[in-house]
Structure formats: structure tokens, C-alpha cells
């Protein structure tokens, strides 16, 4: 069974005036069909306003479809009886940690989730330690969250979700405020969760270098799914990516520029090592 299945999914934001009359309708998601397999690492890219966050909010049933359906682990999100099971299955991490942190001590905030799930005390603390360690915040466990910097807070928020061991984690631009090392740590943590614990990961991001390890990449534009494929397939279509107001990793752009200037480089170069290897090949070729 798929982890997530969307069929003919559409969602409209309806704005009403004071009397309840419809003022405007914004079709944020338009006829989306996709399936995400258990254990996949999926990335969703799209310019702001493309509908990716709206779609993410359907996965843990914060929003319900206006048309079509969404199933999480076989449960239809439109059926109220499924609500809490869906929310336990799919955990969401938002961009702004201040909207997610509620306790006055770091380790208590991380413990909040598992506590609410009725997990026994020893296991709660084991999970708290593991999760904090995984995000590099264990030594700050006794600190007050409001003394932390933005990036540190975000790592605590992520630890809080991870401590609940959901089957699926959706992260809506989780690294937007982190420095390069913080980003690397968070992404490698998410990656480990995906590979070791088989947690399905859905990552919404603008950072192209975070996407290169995904199993599959979806690109959204104005509510539609416009591209789907492996990272290599997607990023080799540089002009198309730019048309959707997105970026490619700097190294991919360099390869693209060199190809445009006549060098015979393969498509879909995603890392520094790949480019250097390809350039060495070019240098070796007789002319």
C-alpha cells in the first residue's frame, strides 16, 4: 500500500466578506494525482504560491480536499474518524519554530509529543535523548527555548516531531533559517531517519542541494504538478527549472554554462565531484 495517495485532488481557498458572501476563490491545488511509496524520500519544489504548503497540509489533514481525495496509509483524510490516526502517522515540521515550541525547557518540549501518545516514561527519555542527539542539541537539553538562536530552536522542533516516530514526516522548509552546517546536520538526520527507520520523508524546500538525495522530485506551479522525476532527471532540465522560477545547484549551473560554451559534459551533474570527474574526462580527450 502506498504511504500517500492523491487522486484528482483540488483545493480552493474561499474568501468571504463579513456577511458570508464569497469575495474570491483561489484554486491553490488543481487536480493533483500522485503516489508516494512507503520509505521514499520525496522532495517538493515550487515557487512561493505554487501550492506546495497547501498540499503538505492535506497530508496530515489540516486541510480537506475541495474535490478529489487523499489517503494516508489507506485512510481517507476526509473521514473524521481517521483524524487522530492520520496525525500520528504523519507528523509535520513547519518553517517557523516559534510556532511549534511550547515548553520552557528544551527536553520537555521534545518529551511533550511522546508523553501525549501515552508512551512509558523510560522510553520517553530514551527518545528525547536520541532525538536531541540526532539534531545536535543534546548539550542544550536543560536550556530555555527562548534563549536559543533561530536555528537552534528549529532543531529542537524537529527533535520534537522525531521523538514521536511517525511513519511519515513532512517538513515545510525546515532549514530556511539555518547556517550551512546546521542545514547539513538536519538534512543528514532526516536522511538517516529515512534510511534507518524507514520513515517516509516529504521535504519542501528551496535549497536545491538538499534535493539531490531524494528518490523523487516533484515540481509544482500554480497548483499543478508540472515536473516529476529523479533529481538527476529534473535538474538536467535547467531552462525548464528556471522557467518555474527555481534554481539548480550552483555546480549544475556551472556544468550547464560550460556545456553551452561547447564542452562535452554529461547532463544531470549534481555534485562537485561529478563535475570535476567529467572535466578530467574532457581534458583527457584527444583533439
Amino acid at each position: 500500500m502506498e504511504m500517500i495517495k492523491a487522486k484528482d485532488l483540488s483545493f480552493e481557498y474561499i474568501r468571504r466578506d463579513e456577511e458570508g458572501n464569497v469575495e474570491s476563490i483561489n484554486k491553490a491545488i488543481d487536480n493533483i494525482n500522485l503516489e508516494i511509496e512507503k520509505g521514499d524520500f520525496i522532495a517538493i519544489l515550487g515557487a512561493n504560491g505554487s501550492g506546495k504548503s497547501t498540499f503538505a497540509k492535506h497530508i496530515n489533514a489540516i486541510l480537506y480536499p475541495t474535490e478529489g481525495s487523499l489517503w494516508v496509509n489507506g485512510m481517507n483524510t476526509a473521514e473524521e474518524k481517521n483524524l487522530w490516526d492520520i496525525r500520528q502517522t504523519a507528523g509535520m515540521v513547519f518553517q517557523n519554530p516559534d510556532n511549534q515550541i511550547i515548553a520552557t525547557v528544551v527536553e520537555e518540549d521534545v518529551a511533550f509529543g511522546p508523553e501525549n501518545l501515552g508512551i512509558e516514561t523510560k522510553e520517553i527519555w530514551r527518545r528525547v535523548e536520541e532525538s536531541l542527539k540526532a539534531v545536535g542539541m543534546l548539550q542544550m537539553r536543560h536550556m530555555s527555548p527562548n534563549k536559543l538562536s533561530g536555528g537552534q530552536k528549529q532543531r529542537v522542533a524537529i527533535a520534537g516531531i522525531m521523538a514521536m516516530r511517525p511513519e511519515c514526516i513532512i517538513l515545510d522548509e525546515p532549514t530556511a533559517m539555518l547556517d550551512p552546517n546546521g542545514r547539513r546536520e538536519v538534512i543528514s538526520t532526516i536522511h538517516e531517519l529515512n534510511k534507518k527507520e524507514k520513515v517516509t520523508v516529504i521535504l519542501i524546500t528551496h535549497h536545491m542541494d538538499e534535493v539531490i538525495y531524494a528518490d523523487k522530485v516533484y515540481v509544482m506551479e500554480k497548483g499543478h504538478l508540472v515536473m516529476e522525476g529523479t533529481p538527476r532527471e529534473i535538474f538536467s532540465r535547467v531552462d525548464e527549472i528556471k522557467k518555474y522560477r527555481l534554481d539548480v545547484p550552483q555546480v549544475t549551473e556551472l556544468a550547464y554554462e560550460l556545456r553551452k560554451s561547447g564542452l562535452d559534459l554529461p547532463e544531470g551533474i549534481l555534485t562537485v565531484e561529478e563535475l570535476v570527474k567529467a572535466l578530467e574526462e574532457v581534458r583527457r580527450k584527444p583533439h
Partner: protein, 284 residues
């Protein structure tokens, strides 16, 4: 010398359990019209440092001089300092509060004591400067996209006609196009108006494109304040400080290690492309 810091120290929560020595003996000079990039790991002291530049935070010890005047001297006009050194915080849309975009931008100059007409003229001018079209002036700030809100918040600071503009991660949370728009606007201000710019960011690629010098903070210390290319040449040290160099810098250094005759100071895609083509051309 527009801004001088002389052995500035700041300690948060002195004497409490949360005492934190956030700035350690910071000394530097910034000249009028420079474009400074300020980078450093999370918690290194960047936000603390910039809040000392417009007197929002007072140093625990040391001196800060603006245009040659000691800002901690008796009778110094702090209010005026804050209009000359404009600070745009992270997520500046949190600063927006009025019912229309135009009113929000007028607020600043009005508070400075300027008359209504002058304030409105400035608001109109600065909104134009950040590329907000006329049809948005009467819209509620909260109906705009993230990037548009950012630009309105920046306009609010620009309406004070600052000599220095400090931006704390102005592109966080924006999509690539929004990021490019904001950075291009900032670069324009720098070129056309000669505004001194201090850009706090985590993006090495952005800072490589725009800044003359790079200030690097590490655990409360200012470890570099050299020209950008010089700093990125120390990419191994940067990594030890939990930072990095732009991706292309790594490409060039790896090629050099493999015996290519390339200079390693390319920090943008165009520079790297030209350097690689040049190196290949000379062996053909």
C-alpha cells in the same frame, strides 16, 4: 570611516545562570559606501553585533563611533542614529502593522517628526525604490506575498533615508526568484545611492556575488574582515567554523589539486566558467 567598533564586548544575562559572552573584543572599521557581508554559524553573535550598530543594544565595554562620534557619549542623539542606520530584522513582515501598505511606510518618517507631506513623499519614493507597484499602495500589507511584504518592510526603513542599511537574512523563506529580486534591489541601492550595506546571510553564493568584504563571526569573535575572495580562499578554516565556500570555489580547488592550471579565486558561476574554459583553451 563611517562605523568604528573598538574592543566591543557584550555579555547577555550577566550574573545569571544564562550568562553568555556574546561579543568578544570586536574591533573593525566600515567605510562609507562599502558592501559588507556578515556570516557566521548560528549563535555566533551576528544579530547581537548588528544591534550594536544602531544602538539598540549597549556594549558591556568598548566603544562604538558613528561618523566620528562616540554613540555612548552624554547627550548623543540615539533617535537620529537609528534613522541614519536602518536595521531590517529577520522576517521583517512581523514589523508590518498598518491597514495599508502606504500607511505602514509613512509611519517611520512621521515618527521622526517630519511633516505629513514630506513623510508621504518619502514613503512614495521608497516604495518605488523597492519595486512595489502603485496598485498595491492601498492594499493591506497582510495580503501580499512573502517577498512583497519583505520589500514593504524594507521600504519602511528606507523612508528614513538611512546612510547605512543593515539587513538580517533578508532572503530567508523566499523562493529563488524572490531572493534574486530582493538582492538585486539591495545591489541597486548600493550602486545608485551609495548606501553602505551590511548583509547578514547564510548563503555563501549570495555573499560572493555582492560583497566587497566579508566579516566572519565565530563564537563571538570576529575572525575575518578581509575582501571576499581572500576569505573564501580560507575555505578549510571556514569549514572548521561550520561554514563553507560557494560550491564553485570547491570545484576550482579540486581541479587545481588534480594539476589544472587554474586560479582558485573564482566564487561565482561566471568566473568559474571563464577560468575553466581559459585553462582548457591553453592546453588545446
Amino acid at each position: 570611516m563611517q562605523i568604528i567598533f573598538d574592543k566591543v564586548n557584550y555579555i547577555y544575562g550577566k550574573g545569571t545562570a544564562f550568562e553568555r559572552h556574546a561579543l568578544k573584543d570586536i574591533s573593525f572599521c566600515i567605510n562609507k559606501g562599502e558592501f559588507i557581508g556578515l556570516i557566521g554559524h548560528t549563535g555566533s553573535g551576528k544579530s547581537t553585533l548588528i544591534q550594536h550598530m544602531n544602538g539598540l543594544i549597549k556594549a558591556s565595554s568598548g566603544h562604538v563611533y558613528f561618523n566620528g562620534e562616540d554613540i555612548y557619549a552624554q547627550g548623543y542623539n540615539m533617535k537620529q542614529l537609528r534613522s541614519k542606520v536602518g536595521l531590517v530584522f529577520q522576517y521583517p513582515e512581523h514589523q508590518l502593522f498598518e491597514t495599508t501598505v502606504f500607511k505602514d511606510v509613512v509611519f517611520g518618517p512621521l515618527n521622526l517628526g517630519l511633516d505629513k507631506l514630506e513623510s508621504e513623499l518619502r514613503a512614495y519614493e521608497s516604495l518605488k525604490m523597492v519595486g512595489i507597484s502603485d496598485d498595491l499602495l492601498d492594499a493591506s500589507p497582510f495580503e501580499l506575498s512573502g517577498g512583497q511584504k519583505r520589500r514593504v518592510a524594507i521600504a519602511g526603513v528606507l523612508a528614513m533615508k538611512p546612510e547605512v542599511l543593515i539587513l538580517d537574512e533578508p532572503t530567508a523563506g523566499l523562493d529563488p526568484r524572490g531572493r534574486d529580486d530582493i538582492l538585486n534591489q539591495i545591489a541597486k541601492l548600493h550602486k545608485e545611492v551609495g548606501m553602505t550595506i551590511i548583509l547578514v546571510t547564510h548563503s555563501m553564493e549570495d555573499v560572493a556575488c555582492y560583497s566587497d568584504r566579508l566579516f566572519v563571526m565565530n563564537n563571538g569573535e570576529l575572525v575575518f574582515q578581509n575582501p571576499t575572495k581572500e576569505v573564501f580562499a580560507h575555505y578549510k578554516e571556514l569549514e572548521e567554523m561550520h561554514l563553507a565556500a560557494p560550491q564553485v570555489t570547491y570545484v576550482m580547488n579540486m581541479l587545481k589539486e588534480k594539476g589544472w592550471n587554474v586560479s582558485c579565486d573564482a566564487t561565482t558561476v561566471k568566473e568559474a566558467r571563464d577560468e575553466i574554459l581559459r585553462a582548457l583553451g591553453s592546453t588545446r
